[in-house]
Symmetry: C2
Subunit: 533 residues, 2 copies
Amino acid sequence: MDFQKVIALATRRGIFQPAFDAYGGLAGFMDYGPVGVKMRRRILEVWRKHYVINAGCLELDGALVGPEALFQASGHLGEFDDALVDCADCGKQFRADHLIKGGEEMSRDALAEAISGTACPGCGSILSEMSSFNLMFSTKVGAGKGLSGYLRPETAQSIFLAFPWLLRQNRSKLPFAGAQIGRSFRNEISPRQGPLRMREFTQMEVEHFFLPNDEPKLPTSLESIEINLVPAKGKKNSTTIGNALRTGIIGSSLVATHLARAQNFLTGIGVAKDNLRFRQHGANEMAHYSSDCWDGEINTSLGWVEVVGVAHRGDYDLSAHGNFSSKEFRVPLPGTEREREVWVPNIGKLGKEFKGEAKSILEAIKDVDVKPDISIEVNGNSVTLSEEYMSKKTERGSEMVFPYVVEPSFGLDRILYCLLESSWKNDGEREWISLPQETSPYDLLVAPLMTKDGLDGKAQGILQSALDMGVDAYYDEAGSIGRRYARADEIGIFFSMTIDHQTLEDGTVTLRERDSKNQSRLSIEDALSKVRR
Amino acid sequence: MDFQKVIALATRRGIFQPAFDAYGGLAGFMDYGPVGVKMRRRILEVWRKHYVINAGCLELDGALVGPEALFQASGHLGEFDDALVDCADCGKQFRADHLIKGGEEMSRDALAEAISGTACPGCGSILSEMSSFNLMFSTKVGAGKGLSGYLRPETAQSIFLAFPWLLRQNRSKLPFAGAQIGRSFRNEISPRQGPLRMREFTQMEVEHFFLPNDEPKLPTSLESIEINLVPAKGKKNSTTIGNALRTGIIGSSLVATHLARAQNFLTGIGVAKDNLRFRQHGANEMAHYSSDCWDGEINTSLGWVEVVGVAHRGDYDLSAHGNFSSKEFRVPLPGTEREREVWVPNIGKLGKEFKGEAKSILEAIKDVDVKPDISIEVNGNSVTLSEEYMSKKTERGSEMVFPYVVEPSFGLDRILYCLLESSWKNDGEREWISLPQETSPYDLLVAPLMTKDGLDGKAQGILQSALDMGVDAYYDEAGSIGRRYARADEIGIFFSMTIDHQTLEDGTVTLRERDSKNQSRLSIEDALSKVRR
């Protein structure tokens, strides 16, 4: 199926449509309809099973609007931008790297040089000089002037900022991973391609935190997984994860682990392994926070589409927030514990000498390494504390370090698009979506052969039993049974059950399997237990 | 449990915390942690079962950022505001209706008069004159000046705007309901009270569309439901829904239906019926779109807290979008079909006379009721079409009407808060959260009595079996078994399973029920099947 066919199917059958069409549309925003919501939820169920339930990630659901200081620290205010050129004549705006062949791999300077003097694809005038356009949506929080706030450009920052809280939930033990499913926002310059480049999109992200000297190993169970790799340098490779790690194609054991897990997840929801590759970023392509990054890409009619990025972010984010904010984002490094002598304030003497001011002095030195003759500011005066106000104490302490993080980051909207395109089948007689039952929008169509003689009532009773069992069932009594099968196939309903006169006599139904079209006559109970996931 | 205790428990145990604390916080925004995410998901599962699976609502997931025209049409740009007063001296800002006793029930004029000359609660200076502050967060979409956009203040507008699409998904049949779970945003002037007044929050909304002359009846199965009602006029009432509808306390059968359904949902997730009442809005309190509205309120330590509103919105929203936009939001009214004579353009004559311009003329009158001597604008010129360019045709058509809508709108954040507060128990010996299994954060704690002799390995095997069966299980091996029960009770884990030496011998475990503390010795299989929901 090609792009236009997916879009037409999605609109016709309530999977997704461009949002706000009644008001001329707003590029980069979509609505998901009843069938799309089902498919998204089912993909998320599988994802949550992989990452939250079986891998034990701690799930977070953070706020979407964040304060300016957060995005100053994270680097998004400074560096999260695209190269913009616009046309003074027709007013159109373009991403510079999309107008120049190979532009996405160029450095900003090379791109500025290459784009200089280029004609507007709209009207032919010469385009403006290249400028930077920050991709975050900004807003104001509160009345009057308000505080500057931004819609988060990735869910990841919520997890980084919640790191101290999540660490406590994990009883201060590392490694552990935070996970989040949620909306993110990027004010793309001129988004096209429907669900492939959106201004508002849904991410599933995992931040796997570990001590710099204790990176989690590649689990034995993942070593022999075959994977298609496109390294930044060197040749395309189809090899095992274990081999890629041993030979240095992948430099980090946790990156290797998450490449394997990402592939397991994607093939589990219905992506063919041959259609999937992991491509390493070149130096110019890498985000500001990343030291190594691999994109999981699916082959589509539009070329290779990135659906997941696995990035080694080092301690970029935790150290940024640790250094910019008032909170401790470091952890003690095991093996560095030792005794050391420290100075502590002598509270008795301070009280005697400074009376009411002693409390302010203690407050002022609370987070400071105290030593004799230290000068501090107290209520606007400078106070110097000599050795007589201190005593020595022996403390046990460790070196404090910022943990490292490896992040797999999935894009739900793109995954759904790629699944629709790649699972579409046409054998000349019919068209159908061929997804695993886990990610089909419904488990079961319940269809009375006709709406008389009580067949519809019987069918509705079976529908309710199915729903009560947790089977995702859909009722359809309109039109011929062939027409109903066709409608069910079109959106990939996994089984179809027909209720006919024989059902009233002996309690059997016809169960049809979507891909093979095989039909079998079964008791209602047997049919439902076959359908139940 | 009181407010401070809930907040302390939520922070300590990873339910929720104020967001962005590392950067001094941002009032009105929260993060949900691992236990909070679980509880929210389970509440949503029950909600979806009620409304989407069993009541067959069509679920939508719409964009959060919308264009200006949408909110002009919906009335939110003009009328969705709070009365603001601020202090020129200390800079603090206040909601005027929160500073005056009974202010929330006052009209704007009365409020402006009452607040005049009031002193600032912060510094005692006289406050500014009252002004209006629009509660929508605004942003810019696209580069350069961009287009004005707003974060949606309710999920409802996504459903109204998608009405024509959803109607097609329902094969053009009414009544039907759209449902949506998602984030909404209100730029509250000075939010306090944590999860009770948030700037970013999660709503679950249903828009139940029906023909004005065919309002859905109260289902017989709901008639005898007992409900506590506080009408705007008249006395507090505890009566049945059927009786309240018959005696006119509730004016609409669909409002009555949704009051009953809302109560069923809330009691199903663990709200005690005696703690729940439905209070009708007075005329001053009613939103700009609503003709009748009832708030479902839960009794808490802070007073009655609104967790759901059931509103009769009439055709306010669909007619607004139908009249402001280019799309058809009306439907044919059954029973009004009749033949009528209409004028249609005579294409042959138009072509002969106007040649190349004929196409533009046809385009210009495409959506217009044509009649003789109509004047239209074509390529900048005014053209008048006389009778000779038209012919008469007999058409069958119906009167077109905007459907009505009744809306139950739930606030997830408040529901979770109220559940935590009201389900907290303390019998002097222990503290626990006593929720139904459906909304407990976990079904099961799996706890080895000690971490030696292979008990921990055995326990982890059982954990995995439980997870594979779909049981939401939690593993804990730290500290004494009593301490672990206490930790499980504190967040309301429904069952606890202990693995001891006897487990290794005969495959039995101890299963403890949270509320009764009853313990029974069962085989692993029996225990798991008891735990499975």
